[in-house]
């Protein structure tokens, strides 16, 4: 799903109302952003606690709501918080693993890789497999643009890279996906 500039305007309005103390605005923000955040965490996290991460992000959004400066775009701010939450989550997981390993007398083992959500269609599995073949940097840029609907300026801000690099990563990811899926000029080769 692609969010338009109008969608971003709506998010800004919701944030302003949320800061003014309207609970409905928080619910509106959740409805608009939970799906995007869930997919974001599925793409970047190595653990399977996506729902926990989404909830923790909204708790952190609530605690830090005064750090949003209207009328700046909301999504880069939300992704900034999501990045923070993920960092804390990873540190906590690492501490727990280390503590458990120390307690059990075993070596520290990293968390297992995320298995990904079950997919409903074979095509979706194909796409998912193809996505996994991409480097994380390209995959992330592609997903932010084509799945989350972020503009390249927003992606550049989220990933802290130049706009040109965001375009290049997304474009190369798209090229690799087309090649992996056997798609030429918008059609799938069987």
């Amino acid at each position: 799903m692609r969010e338009s500039g109008e969608g971003e305007d709506r998010l800004v309005r919701l944030m302003v109302e949320y800061q003014a103390g309207r609970t409905e605005a928080f619910e509106g923000l959740y409805e608009a952003l939970a799906g995007i955040l869930r997919r974001h965490f599925e793409a970047v996290s190595r653990g399977g606690a996506t729902d926990d991460l989404v909830q923790d992000t909204f708790m952190e959004i609530h605690r830090s709501r005064r750090t949003y400066l209207p009328p700046l775009p909301v999504r880069p701010w939300v992704f900034g918080i999501a990045r923070n939450v993920l960092r804390r989550h990873r540190r906590l997981a690492w501490r727990r693993a280390r503590r458990d390993a120390f307690g059990a007398g075993h070596d520290v083992a990293p968390s297992p890789a995320v298995s990904g959500a079950p997919h409903q269609a074979i095509d979706a599995r194909d796409v998912n497999d193809a996505l996994r073949q991409l480097s994380p940097a390209r995959r992330h840029a592609w997903e932010l643009h084509h799945v989350e609907g972020l503009s390249f300026e927003e992606i550049a801000r989220v990933l802290r890279i130049p706009v040109g690099a965001a375009k290049l990563r997304s474009s190369r990811a798209m090229g690799a996906l087309r090649a992996a899926l056997g798609i030429v000029k918008g059609e799938r080769r069987e």
């Binding site: 409805e31 909204f58 750090t67 992704f79 900034g80 550049a156 801000r157």
Partner: protein
């Protein structure tokens, strides 16, 4: 897409739901530091004593360059406060410009002062002088560093060590604006090692402080 807020989350949010005023823009918060920055630049040399060859310096070489250091120091602190706001992290190019600019300013001020009023460390006193300047400059920068740390911690830095390092750098520049007015030595080796070392130490202290603040905050919030 119509996700509903989980009941537990909504309950937790409602338990602490009140209107909030958005943080002021980073440059406005930096302006809150400006009076303190300029005050330190003036008070620090007056407190420790003006350099004995102060009269040999023209006003632009003494107060003028120190004023410039305070201004650039405030700009650097402002960049750190910008970095501390979620979603407004600085690009690699901006970071390079800020750090490179701060270092270039310190080196340029040092070399220009040495060129205009060349003075050297007395024989046998190199380490003592270096230690004294390093310590006094660090002490002078500590209040600015603490104020900047407080302002940055009110946001939510995604890279706390980086935000801290940058505001430490800014605090170091502001502190050095006063240090160069009480230290009468302009020998570049002394200034770059002692005064520059103090700036680096404040940057490192800033990075550690910010990381520690975020670590404590993270641990407190996540202990549920």
């Amino acid at each position: 897409m119509s996700d509903r807020v989980p009941a537990a989350l909504l309950e937790a949010v409602r338990a602490d739901f009140r209107p909030v005023r958005p943080l002021a823009a980073p440059w406005r918060r930096t302006m809150m530091l400006a009076p303190a920055g300029f005050l330190f630049a003036v008070l620090s040399p007056l407190f420790w004593g003006l350099r004995q060859n102060f009269s040999a310096l023209t006003p632009s070489l003494s107060w003028g360059l120190s004023f410039l250091q305070v201004v650039i120091g405030l700009v650097v602190v402002g960049a750190a406060l910008h970095e501390a706001v979620p979603g407004r992290t600085l690009s690699g190019r901006a970071l390079a410009a800020i750090v490179g600019g701060a270092i270039a300013l310190e080196v340029a001020v040092t070399l220009y002062t040495a060129l205009m009023v060349p003075t050297v460390v007395p024989p046998g006193a190199w380490i003592r002088f270096a230690w004294e300047c390093w310590f006094m400059a660090g002490l002078s920068g500590a209040p600015v560093l603490a104020a900047a740390a407080w302002l940055a911690a009110r946001a939510l830095p995604a890279r706390p060590w980086l935000a801290g390092g940058i505001y430490g750098l800014g605090a170091g520049l502001i502190a050095d604006s006063g240090t160069r007015l009480f230290c009468w030595v302009s020998e570049p080796a002394h200034v770059l090692v002692a005064h520059g070392g103090s700036i680096l130490a404040l940057a490192a202290l800033g990075a550690l402080t910010a990381a520690a603040v975020e670590g404590v905050r993270g641990r407190t919030l996540w202990r549920r």
